[in-house]
Amino acid sequence: MQLVKTFAEHYNYVITIFLMMAGLYIVVARGNMVKKLIGLSIFQTSVYLLYITPGKIIGGTAPILDPAFTVYSNPLPHVLILTAIVVGVATLALGLALVVRINECYGTIEEDEIFAKDDDQ
């Protein structure tokens, strides 16, 4: 019972950890370069959740100062994660651009095939 309660209270974090592990696993286990990037994105997304979750204060409102409210949600994580999203998008874009170039040069985006091609030289 206790276990279920802990799980229910922390389910945001459980999802965060699940996404984190899933993302990392894809990066490690997949040889397809695009899939790797997708895994990387999932991994980064989990961090967004990690930051956003504690920002929500139960009973708090949007952080607009008003005498009627005393409890606000923390706006900071949203700002931070906005930045992190931009970083993530840039990384993904650059990664995909690299994959396109690799595909032009090697004719494939499977890692093992690429390594085999370089070993031939």
Binding site: M33, L94, L98, I102
Partner: protein
């Protein structure tokens, strides 16, 4: 002048950032180079002024946008990061003249402007990581420099450069994400992102919730270690350095990993140090163990490399082992050794990579057998290589000796005899991999590839010779390197619990 002085910390970042945008818009290689050169030459003056101020007394706190810390982002300059700022700026300024011909030789006309743009962005990021007092801001700069770095590496002519860049992108992003997870955990328990503020609140947080603090430490350690290529998280580095354009390799080898090391030291000694007792955590042992593994394993692998840029890359991994060793030793002498080796290794490794870049410029190859007998053909270049090589080996009279001396003294005070013997034994491996090149280059008959070779033009030769001279100069006159590093180490160690 008086109007500018208070804003120097911001200018240190804003000038290269604007320079990068300008270089990107200019589109023509030579004009972009002019911008990059102007910016690079301006940087040491700003960094020097900052260093001069903090040496005069106290640290500088700069409120970005006028927001009061810890709410706003604070740029905080003390002796330690002023030293690293100076290091990055000076390396950029000295090597920049080299870039013009080297980049023109290795990169297509249409892409040169972008190359300089990325170089300036990378410089911005590195300086930003160093100067900022805000953990999340450091993450952003980490990614700014990293993204620029991926592009710089991918600009190499070999198609394997793309692969190296991609692999670095994956590893680098994982590292940065680990870092940001660690920062997030710290923020959750302390409610702050400002290094100084986090450090002040951490004591209370660690008693209430010790586990997230330890977890944060672990995430930060792994994340930053990936960026600084601590063995065994170094796998991205050799290929990245081997296939990047010569100038990019030089600049990255001399600065990028150093700044990551700076971040690690900052986190360990300024943020966690005052709260956590490192002796009770296996941090010290772990770092020392991995450092020794790096010193031996990477040096050993370096011995068998035929691509000399790759060899030097592995040598870098080994040398980073020396730097982190001092962090593990964690006393004043050891940390002085670490900090001074940041600068010393930057100087000599930059010289070595510049020399190889010059060889590539002349004969189009950095394979060991193609360099046979090249010494007498490119006497100044290869003489510089030999001298800088002595630095890597750590012969007295070069900078490498100074670093090793401090590490040895630190190890004797803290850990004891065996570690000292290990430090010294690992430099024997450097004798082998440097000696191998020297033997081939100077004591063999010339190979057909280097018959027509000669020393490179002055714009490439002078940066190389300046760095080589610095290898000797700072091996004898250490007041600007070891002297300042000692002050920084004293400050950092003084805050430890």
């Amino acid at each position: 002048m008086t109007a500018v002085m208070p804003h120097l910390p911001a200018l240190q970042i804003v000038v290269p950032l604007l320079g990068a945008i300008l270089a990107g818009f200019l589109r023509r290689g030579p004009t972009a180079f002019a911008v990059a050169l102007a910016v690079s030459w301006l940087m040491p003056f700003i960094a020097g002024a900052l260093l001069w101020q903090v040496l005069g007394g106290g640290s500088i706190s700069y409120r970005l946008g006028g927001w009061q810390p810890p709410y706003g982002i604070e740029y905080r300059v003390d002796v330690f990061n002023a030293f690293v700022l100076m290091l990055v700026s000076v390396i950029g300024a000295v090597t920049m003249p080299y870039a013009r011909r080297s980049v023109a030789f290795e990169i297509d006309e249409g892409r040169q402007a972008w190359f300089y743009c990325m170089y300036l962005l990378c410089l911005t990021g590195l300086l930003g990581i160093t100067i900022t007092g805000d953990a999340f801001n450091a993450f952003v700069f980490l990614e700014v420099s990293a993204l620029a770095t991926y592009v710089l590496i991918a600009a190499g002519r070999d198609r394997r450069a793309l692969l190296a860049s991609y692999q670095y992108l994956i590893m680098g992003t994982i590292g940065a994400t680990f870092y940001v997870i660690g920062v997030g955990l710290l923020w959750v328990v302390t409610g702050s992102l400002n290094f100084v503020d986090v450090s002040a609140r951490l004591a209370e947080a660690a008693t209430v919730q010790p586990r997230p603090v330890i977890t944060a430490l672990a995430f930060l350690t792994v994340g930053v270690s990936l960026k600084l290529a601590l063995f065994p998280l170094h796998s991205w580095l050799p290929n990245a350095y081997a296939y990047a354009p010569s100038f990019a390799t030089t600049f990255l080898a001399a600065t990028a990993t150093k700044v990551a090391v700076y971040l690690l030291i900052r986190l360990y000694f300024s943020v966690f140090g005052p709260t956590l007792n490192f002796q009770k955590l296996p941090v010290s042992e772990l770092i020392i163990g991995l450092s020794i593994a790096a010193m031996f394993a990477a040096s050993f692998i370096a011995i068998f490399q035929t691509n000399l840029k790759r060899m030097l890359a592995y040598s870098s991994v080994a040398q980073i082992g020396y730097i982190t060793l001092g962090i593990g030793i964690a006393n004043k002498a050891g940390l002085t050794g670490s900090i001074v080796h940041l600068a010393n290794h930057a100087v000599m490794k930059a010289a070595l990579f510049l020399a190889l870049g010059a060889v590539f410029y002349r004969i189009g190859s950095v394979k060991l057998h193609d360099l046979s007998g090249i010494g007498p053909k490119m006497p100044l270049t290869m003489a510089a290589f030999v001298v800088a090589g002595f630095g890597i080996i750590g012969t007295p009279g070069t900078v490498g000796f100074i670093s090793k001396w401090y590490l040895a003294v630190g190890a004797l005070n803290e850990v004891g005899w065996p570690l000292v013997l290990v430090i010294m034994a690992s430099s024997l491996l450097a004798v082998i991999y440097i000696g191998r090149v020297v033997e081939v280059a100077w004591f063999r008959d010339p190979s057909p590839t280097c018959i027509g070779a000669s020393d490179p033009p002055l714009s490439m030769l002078i940066p190389l010779l300046v760095l080589t001279a610095a290898t000797i100069w700072f091996g004898i006159d250490t007041q600007w390197t070891a002297g300042i590093a000692g002050k920084a180490a004293g400050m950092l160690v003084g805050g430890l619990k």
